[in-house]
Subunit: 273 residues, 2 copies
């Protein structure tokens, strides 16, 4: 239980103050915040709320969207990510989750988009160091390659991260996005202290009409969380296990009930025995 974190998208109908109170009531020690929810509450107030509640902030979601073309797109992406780094620092988290973005409208230049991600990461990394916040590159499931993230495997994320100091750029291991990868065990071992965040939710079928919302509670799907957690732990990761679920049915469930399920599933499938 002392490693469980609620990513607040999992209780999407809760405001930030409600999610903080929910964690306190359920004795969940950490929370992953989203920038839109922080903005709703106000940055200073949000930071004070989590601090006063004694919660750790396991991550801020999210920076990224680095694939825009042209000088203007480049400038805008840089500025937005600097703001996100500043917010992360103010909120007291050392981890900014980076969803790098998909192909620009009408583009088929996947190689070029991937090169732009590398370039912008190189610009951002020193700033991350200044803020003492780590850019955590999240490989997204290949089904999101065209529209959300051209970083599709842990190996690719590590190739990018290893260009920079370990305290500036790391990676996210999100079960939903990487569970299928035949090379996963080897890449997790390789990742070592590059693992900035371990996020969990399950692969459930069928995929819903909106493929983004197909994620299930840990234990409801096809992922072997016992093995995955052992691999992440063996790599040296000692941080929080953040539950991040995009699922309309779960969003429509009362938050208290969702948190009770999180705790039950964490005990059954994730927590070390």
């Amino acid at each position: 239980m002392n490693r469980l974190s609620l990513n607040q998208i999992t209780t999407r109908n809760w405001s930030l103050p409600q999610a903080v109170q929910g964690c306190v009531d359920a004795a969940i020690p950490a929370i992953g915040l989203w920038r839109d929810k922080v903005a709703e509450t106000g940055l200073t107030r949000a930071a004070k709320l989590v601090r006063d509640a004694g919660l750790a902030v396991s991550s801020l979601c999210r920076g990224g969207f680095l694939t825009a073309t042209g000088a203007e797109g480049h400038r805008a992406a840089l500025a937005e990510n600097l703001r996100a780094l500043e917010e992360a620092a103010e909120l007291g988290t050392d981890t900014l989750v980076m969803v790098v973005g998909g192909l620009p409208e009408g583009s088929r230049d996947l190689t070029g988009s991937r090169a732009r991600v590398a370039e912008l990461l190189a610009e951002l990394a020193p700033h991350a160091g200044d803020f003492r916040v780590r850019l955590a590159i999240e490989p997204l499931h290949p089904m999101f390659c065209a529209d959300r993230a051209v970083v599709s495997t842990l190996s690719q994320a590590l190739d990018l991260a290893e260009q920079h100091p370990v305290d500036q750029v790391g990676v996210v291991v999100d079960s939903y996005h990487v569970w299928w990868d035949p090379d996963l065990a080897r890449q997790i071992a390789r990742a070592g202290d590059r693992i900035a965040s371990y996020q969990v939710c399950d692969w459930t079928l069928p995929l819903p009409a909106d493929a983004l919302l197909g994620r299930g509670h840990v234990g409801d799907g096809h992922i072997d969380f016992r093995t995955l957690t052992e691999q992440v732990t063996a790599a040296g990761y000692t941080g929080f296990v953040e539950v991040e679920i995009f699922n309309q049915q779960i969003w429509d469930t009362p938050g208290e009930q969702t948190l009770a399920t999180l705790i039950e599933r964490h005990r059954a499938h994730v927590a070390q025995r």
Copy 2:
């Protein structure tokens, strides 16, 4: 045009005789057959039809489904694939496309399922040699890992294929399944004469309610077919380019119209200039 092949699932509402006639009328020189359509027509009659029409049979879809557990599941998979090999030989194709199967009901043992695939391939490979038909392992997009194919990357397919003589086990490069792979260029070059089939259709968004049916005509989506085809050609592949599309709207289109689109898109995006 002399390398274009119609995979008959693309004109799903056509019977095998209709698809053969459609290819003849459109001057498409090859066809990829499906076992259920062959069975509808009768194996001997189907073989005679394509032979008399002067069509090459670029592949038979499909063998596979090798992940069943238990002695009975094992025996059934072996028997079914031997039948498929025999049909392929009778139909005059040297390529049996293998969709290896997903996780067995209730299983989370992805590593175990992958090991079973390797075991059954080892049993089948010598028989493939006897029939002079190559088992063509098709890596499927990772979004089908749980329910259709635990072989998810070209690298993984090649690791399996390279255990066997090149004339017994090869791989399929299907644009839809592999286009996102950051390691793709390197793996295609590695594949060389292991490439038994090159299948094309485009990645279009949004994914439909049935994620299986989201494939689009070449040119309608996000894949750079010019680059992909160059890579496959540079690897030494000189066989057919088979258009295989699962898409309800395209299935509802008159076959003649679909074939006209195939030809137009092949010229615009695939054929060497």
